[in-house]
Symmetry: C2
Subunit: 111 residues, 2 copies
DNA sequence: TATTATTACCTAAGATTCTTATGTATGTTT
DNA sequence: AAACATACATAAGAATCTTAGGTAATAATA
């Protein structure tokens, strides 16, 4: 993902949010989109991505449709109704995380 | 830390930043300060904290002084000169992480 | 035309960071 | 007397990642 430890734990949030925005995406496309959106600073490793996609699917958050494009298989993932609810939670948790980190890193002086 | 996966990876950043601000702190004090600053939403587990402190120390980022207060031992941690440099990096990495997550979660429309 | 790069999927071993559970010991409150 | 708070610690297992491989098709390049 990056040599930066902070990214640990945020991959599922990223996947879910991108799928919420795009409707459907395939794995390789996700890696490229993340690279684009972060000007090359972030690199989703395939060894992390595919197991994550499979887990999200097995949990009922994602569904898959395989499609053959130019003789190559693409597996398009999209949110299930359950996934639509979950991504709302995830966005709330990200917001809370960001606020808490800000509060610790940059505490309001109390006086 | 929380039932929220996103916190994974951010404990060392939190410890280093608190020590930068406070000068010196002991382990238990860190758990209480984090709870305070986040209105109880964040809970640094001792099973994560103490090994982290020991690792940061073994890496040369922290130094320790034991002190006996009311017949109980406190181990006060503080940044080494190396740690002072490292915490600057960590703050930069947190900033980059936040910006990247924002870029993914809330992309600027390009048109 | 042979090689490399890109696209597209996958898994397994090991590293890292956490949670859960447990332990020790003192002081304070109920 | 029991429970809670303070203060340290470790060990087993879970979760998430990196690294390192593998397959296979198409495109670009030497």
């Amino acid at each position: 993902m990056s040599n930066n430890k902070l990214y640990r734990g945020s991959l599922t949030t990223i996947i879910m949010r991108l799928l919420e925005q795009e409707g459907k995406m395939y794995g390789y496309e996700i890696t490229q989109r993340v690279k684009e959106l972060t000007n090359g600073t972030m690199d989703v490793k395939e060894g992390a991505l595919y197991p994550s996609l499979h887990k999200l699917q097995s949990e009922g958050h994602l569904k898959v449709e395989a499609e053959k494009v130019e003789n190559r298989i693409r597996k398009y993932y999209s949110l299930t109704p359950q996934g639509e609810k979950e991504v709302v939670n995830m966005m709330q948790e990200l917001k809370e995380y960001m606020e808490n980190m800000q509060a610790i890193i940059n505490p309001k002086l109390s006086f």
